[in-house]
C-alpha cells in the first residue's frame, strides 16, 4: 500500500469529480468519499447504495461511460471514468 498515493485515480460521478485508489470498485471509491446514494429506483424513486457487495443483487447498478446497469460493487474505477446514476 506504500505506493497507493501514486495510484490515485480521478473519475466523475454525476458530473462531480472524485478520486479513488487503483483496484477499488466504483462503489467502494464513492462510499469512501461519503456518497450514500448510487441510484434511484425506477418506480419509487428511492435511493439505493450497495447491498450484497459481491455482484449478486444488482442493487448498485450505475451507468459507466454510457453502458447501463454496471454493478458498482464489481467494476473497478479506471482513470477518466464518467459514471452516473441510472434512472
Amino acid at each position: 500500500m506504500s505506493n497507493s498515493a501514486s495510484q490515485k485515480i480521478s473519475f466523475t460521478f454525476n458530473g462531480v469529480a472524485h478520486e479513488g485508489v487503483r483496484g477499488q470498485s466504483i462503489a467502494a471509491a464513492l462510499m469512501e468519499s461519503g456518497v450514500r446514494e448510487l441510484r434511484q429506483t425506477r418506480f419509487g424513486n428511492e435511493p439505493r447504495l450497495i447491498f450484497c457487495g459481491i455482484g449478486v443483487c444488482f442493487d448498485c447498478v450505475v451507468v459507466v461511460n454510457e453502458v447501463a446497469n454496471q454493478r458498482a460493487c464489481l467494476v473497478e474505477i479506471a482513470p477518466g471514468d464518467q459514471i452516473r446514476s441510472s434512472k
Binding site: 425506477r42 453502458v67 447501463a68 446497469n69
Partner: protein, 380 residues
C-alpha cells in the same frame, strides 16, 4: 360446487374466457386445473392480441371479433390487465411486395392497415435500423398481461357464482351412452353434462381420457427478456417473415423477429418455433439467433443485456386452426384448444363461439372451420 352446469378444464386464458362467457350466459361454472392459474402456455407468452399476422379467412374473422371482445371484456371485468392497443408495425426486411399484398387483402376484410414509407416508419419507430424503409402499421394489434388477465377473469367468474379448483388433475370421465356425465379428478368427482376441454397444449391428453382424438401437439417457443431499458420500442414490431413462419408446418426450427417493450421496461424478443415435443432443454444457439435478429432490426439493443429466457409450448393443430366445438364422439364434451401462438388473442372469440354452440344460439360467424370433427372425418 355440487352440480355445476358446466366444467371447464384449464385455467389458462382460453378456459378463463370460456368460463366467463358461460357464466354471463347464466350457467354455474366450475374451473379445474392440474396446476394453478395460467401455469401452462398462458404464463409463457407475451400477451399478443394480433390481427396483423392472419391471412383472410375464418381465423382472421375470429381474430377481429375477438380483439373487440377483449376491450368489451375489460369493461365487463372492470379491472386492469394492462390491455393496450399499442399497434403492430410489420417491417419488410428486403422485398416488400408480399407484405404489401397481404396488407391489401387484409384491409378488404376489416383490418385497418397503413402502408409506411421510410419517413413514417422511422417516425413511428425512431430506433429502427436506418436502412429499413418499408412497413405496415396495424393499429388494431393489441397486447395484455395474459397471466393477470386470466386471473382477473377467473376472479369475476368466482364473484358471479363460479368456482376454481386448483391442483386438480383430470384422471378420467364418466360417460353414459356416449354422453358426458362428469369428470374424475385427483380432488374428487364432479358431475356435469357439459365439459369444456380448454387444456391448451395438453388438450389431446384430456381428449384421450374420453377415448377421443384431438391432434394437438406442442410447438416450442423461446422468448428473450432483457434488463429494464429506456423506451426504445413503441409498438409491437416484427419482420414480415413472422407471418410466413406462423403459417408454416415445418417441424424444424424457424425464427423470426418480434420485438416489443413492456410496462416494466423489459424488452421481449421472440419468436422461435420448433416441433420437438415437450423438450425444455435450453438451446443457446436459438437465443443467439433471436438476439441477432432483434439487433438487426434495432441496433440500439446491442448494449441491452439479456436477463432470462422463457420457454413455452404452443398448442399446435396440423392445419394451424383452433379446435372449437363439440367432440366428434362424446355428446356434451366440448373443445376449445389448439390456438397455437394466438390463444390470448383468440380466447374471447372462441369463448363466444363455444357458448353460442352449447346454448344452440347463432354466432357472429360460422364456426364450422374450427370443428374438432374435421380431423375425425379425415381419420375415417
Amino acid at each position: 360446487m355440487k352440480n355445476p352446469d358446466a366444467i371447464v378444464i384449464g385455467a389458462g386464458i382460453v378456459g378463463a374466457c370460456a368460463a366467463l362467457s358461460l357464466t354471463n350466459a347464466g350457467l354455474k361454472v366450475l374451473i379445474i386445473d392440474r396446476g394453478t392459474v395460467a401455469s401452462g402456455t398462458t404464463g409463457a407468452g407475451e400477451g399478443n392480441i394480433l390481427v396483423s399476422d392472419k391471412d383472410p379467412g375464418p381465423e382472421l374473422t375470429l381474430a377481429l371479433k375477438s380483439r373487440d371482445l377483449w376491450f368489451e371484456m375489460q369493461e365487463d371485468v372492470g379491472d386492469s390487465f394492462e390491455l393496450e392497443a399499442k399497434g403492430g408495425v410489420v417491417v419488410a426486411r428486403t422485398d416488400d411486395s408480399q407484405l404489401m399484398a397481404l396488407a391489401q387483402s387484409q384491409s378488404k376484410h376489416g383490418v385497418i392497415t397503413e402502408k409506411l414509407d421510410s419517413v413514417r416508419l422511422h417516425e413511428l419507430e425512431p430506433y429502427l435500423h436506418p436502412e429499413l424503409s418499408s412497413g405496415v402499421l396495424y393499429p388494431q394489434d393489441a397486447q395484455c398481461q395474459p397471466m393477470l388477465a386470466a386471473a382477473r377473469i377467473i376472479q369475476s367468474v368466482i364473484a358471479r357464482g363460479g368456482e376454481l379448483v386448483m391442483r386438480s388433475k383430470v384422471l378420467g370421465f364418466n360417460l353414459a351412452h356416449g354422453a358426458m356425465k362428469g369428470v374424475v379428478t385427483s380432488t374428487g368427482e364432479y358431475s356435469s353434462p357439459i365439459v369444456i376441454n380448454a387444456a391448451g397444449t395438453w388438450a389431446g391428453e384430456i381428449a384421450a381420457l374420453a377415448d377421443s382424438y384431438l391432434p394437438v401437439a406442442p410447438r416450442r417457443g423461446f422468448i428473450l427478456v432483457t434488463e429494464p431499458a429506456p423506451q426504445y420500442i413503441f409498438h409491437k414490431v416484427y419482420d414480415s417473415d413472422y407471418v410466413v413462419n406462423v403459417a408454416s408446418s415445418d417441424a424444424d426450427l424457424q425464427t423470426s423477429t418480434v420485438v416489443e417493450g413492456t410496462r416494466s421496461g423489459t424488452i421481449l424478443i421472440g419468436a422461435s418455433r420448433e416441433r420437438i415435443g415437450f423438450d425444455s432443454t435450453m438451446n443457446y444457439e436459438i437465443v443467439r439467433k433471436l438476439a441477432a435478429q432483434a439487433t438487426s432490426l434495432f441496433p440500439i439493443l446491442r448494449d441491452v443485456q439479456l436477463l432470462r429466457v422463457y420457454r413455452g409450448f404452443r398448442p399446435y393443430a396440423p392445419d394451424h386452426l383452433p379446435l372449437i366445438g363439440e367432440d366428434s364422439t362424446v355428446k356434451g364434451f366440448w373443445h376449445s384448444a389448439g390456438h397455437e401462438g394466438a390463444g390470448i388473442g383468440l380466447a374471447p372469440g372462441s369463448a363466444a363461439l363455444i357458448t353460442d354452440a352449447i346454448l344452440g344460439r347463432d354466432s357472429f360467424m360460422d364456426p364450422h372451420a374450427f370443428s374438432p370433427k374435421r380431423f375425425a372425418e379425415v381419420l375415417k
